[in-house]
């Protein structure tokens, strides 16, 4: 990936490293852990939608499969959290192929609806299959992640774990984007017929990026249940899929960095909306509507425009009085 992104990754690492110095309160750390978990999903979804142009309204389903697999295997069959996470990824990849393969031919609204249907089925089943998932009340007692003898229990350690995983995934994803595969994906998004004629196996790459984004959602799901040490269907409903969409739309469709920023903002926003107590839904809807209408290209789009505006103004001023 370009020199430019190396700098950004380094900057990102520095921020993760020093943020807890500013923000030592466990409450903010706990919220930032959720932000990191959603950033992981947002990166995968941003690649799927921003680069390959595939709409998915059901990523909470993959998030749920990863979460429930980790929770059930670690609590009831005391698997090691990492083993459970990998098994979760295997199940999710299988589910992604099941949903992804037939939906290759679908586009636009149809694909959105097929994935939405999948997400809802996972949500309803996780509530109904009481034998497996303890039903709608969910269950607690999910152990924390233990890495090389050191259990990651405190908010600070969870913060570092989640955001480091997010950074690694960001690096992997940037490598993919700035490679032959990334260009193939963007060419599919640009013009599928031309891309196909240029030798890009459109079906294969669409499925690969769909499965990749599902796997990331599964990893995030596992981290989610280990962070909350509890799992229940309410964490995986349609609102969650929509939240993921809002995060990448607000960040700016095409940029992975935008997705991470969108994830951070839309995890922190509800905490600050609490001041409106009963009517935070109303404010949330209004902010979202405003953002979708006036910032079609999200925050990165806005800031790029502002900076270009500033630069162009600055240029014109220096030109007429050098």
């Amino acid at each position: 990936m370009g020199k430019n992104n190396y700098i950004k990754c380094a900057l990102f690492l520095i921020i993760i490293g020093f943020l807890p110095v500013f923000v030592s309160n466990q409450y903010y750390l706990s919220v930032l852990v959720f932000a990191g978990i959603y950033a992981i999903v947002a990166i995968g979804l941003s690649m799927l939608m921003g680069y390959a142009g595939q709409i998915s309204l059901g990523h909470a389903g993959f998030f749920a499969i990863g979460g429930y697999t980790s929770a059930i295997l670690t609590k009831f069959h005391n698997f090691h959290p990492l083993q459970a996470m990998i098994i979760g990824i295997v199940f999710t990849v299988f589910a992604a192929l099941l949903v992804g393969l037939p939906s290759l031919r679908l586009r636009g609204h149809y694909l959105a609806m097929a994935t939405l249907g999948f997400g809802e089925i996972i949500y309803v089943t996780s509530g109904a299959a009481t034998g497996l998932t303890e039903g709608p009340s969910g269950f607690s007692g999910v152990p924390s992640i233990a890495l090389a003898g050191f259990t990651i229990k405190s908010e600070l350690s969870k913060f570092y774990l989640v955001w480091l995983v997010a950074l690694i995934i960001m690096i992997l994803s940037l490598n993919i984007i700035h490679s032959r595969i990334g260009r193939a994906l963007r060419s599919i998004h640009g013009d599928e017929i031309a891309s196909n004629a240029m030798g890009v196996n459109v079906a294969k790459y669409k499925i690969q990026v769909f499965v990749y984004s599902a796997a990331l959602a599964s990893i995030a799901g596992s981290l989610y249940v280990h962070h909350m040490r509890f799992v229940s269907p309410t964490g995986f409903n349609l609102n969650k899929s929509i939240l993921f969409l809002i995060m990448i739309m607000s960040g700016g469709m095409g940029s992975l960095w935008g997705a991470v920023i969108g994830a951070a903002i839309f995890t922190l926003l509800p905490e600050f909306l609490g001041v409106f107590n009963d009517y935070d839904i109303l404010m949330y809807g209004a902010i979202l509507l405003g953002m979708m209408m006036f910032l079609p290209h999200g925050l990165t789009g806005l800031t790029t425009k502002i900076i270009q505006l500033v630069l162009s103004k600055w240029k014109t001023r220096t030109q007429n009085n050098p």
Partner: protein, 394 residues
Amino acid sequence: MKVHKLLFAGIITILVLCLVPGCSKKTEAPKPPIKIGAIFSVTGPAAKLGGPEKNTVLMIQDQINAAGGINGQMIEVIVEDDQGVEENTINALQKLIHRDNVVAIIGPTRSGNGIAAAPICEEAKVPLVSCAATLVQLYPGKDISKSMYRYVFKTPQNDSHCARTIYADCQKKGFTKVALITGTTAFGAAGRVELQTRASDFGITIVADETYPADATDLTPILTKIKSQNPQALINWSIVAAQGLIAGQMKQIDLNCQLYQSHGFGNPAYITEAAEGVLFPAGRLLVVDDIDSSNKQYSVLKKFKNDYETKFPDEEVSTFAGHGYDALWLVVNAIKANGADRESIRTGLEATKNFVGTAGVFNMSPTDHCGLADDAFAMVTVKGGSFRLVDAVQ
């Protein structure tokens, strides 16, 4: 490409700045108020429970402060809304415990949220008085006799109380063929387990066992299926809006067996003309006028009902508001008796003896963190469009 680097740094710095907690310093009161945290589902699917709970807790806070607080120290109840989602509950807990450093926490409203909150409060050693009924999940091996979390208490009656009361009434009336219809929420699912396991103790066979989702509106298909099993009694156990419709829809398809509801039915908004004759166990708060004044709870219930309905004229008091009342008073009494730090509140709560609350008389002990006996429930029916005590209208 230079533009991107600039923009990126800009956003990250803004983000960090808005994170630094710049809460303004409150002017120092003579004695800082005792901070008690509360988490209710004020919005979201369980809004009809969380709303009254929040109203009650804030009402009582004002009453206590007006009367000079606890030994001169004011109390401040910080209410958080988790919208019925466990993730928000956990964030709210972290906020109350670590940022507002409250001495005790009341709530949450829904059982799922209660189960998520319990281990966190246990670890942070903060007493939690839950208003969620179904915490059976927390007891090792689901046997409530075993001592559960040391720091977790709960005010609503146990589901087993309710199931036993219903079955006892069925046995009295000679109903042996019973149909179950439960909502697929945490509350409904736990009730279903209780009803399934306890049926044989009362010689009752379950002829139908149906469930319906939280957003269900038309239950006639399920009731039609149940009608074909011709049960003698139908027990509905749910907390969702559909519980108000079942009686009407039963009438529509001429399913005329006796309808029992769970203690989740204790909200006057669910009373429709078709609900005449429905039976359900509930705290005596709903039928204050029917209980004779000699009953220990009479004065407490009367006062609370009047206070609530004068402060919130367009609402009738419900058992959910009662849970809020009991939880806050349990904590306040513990503070009065033992002191305002977390450890002494815990021991104070555990030592609560015959505290007369809205749900019944609480007698806590190290192994029983609910403290309500079976007599906490009274059979209530709907007569003349309002809740009436069964014994009073016999």
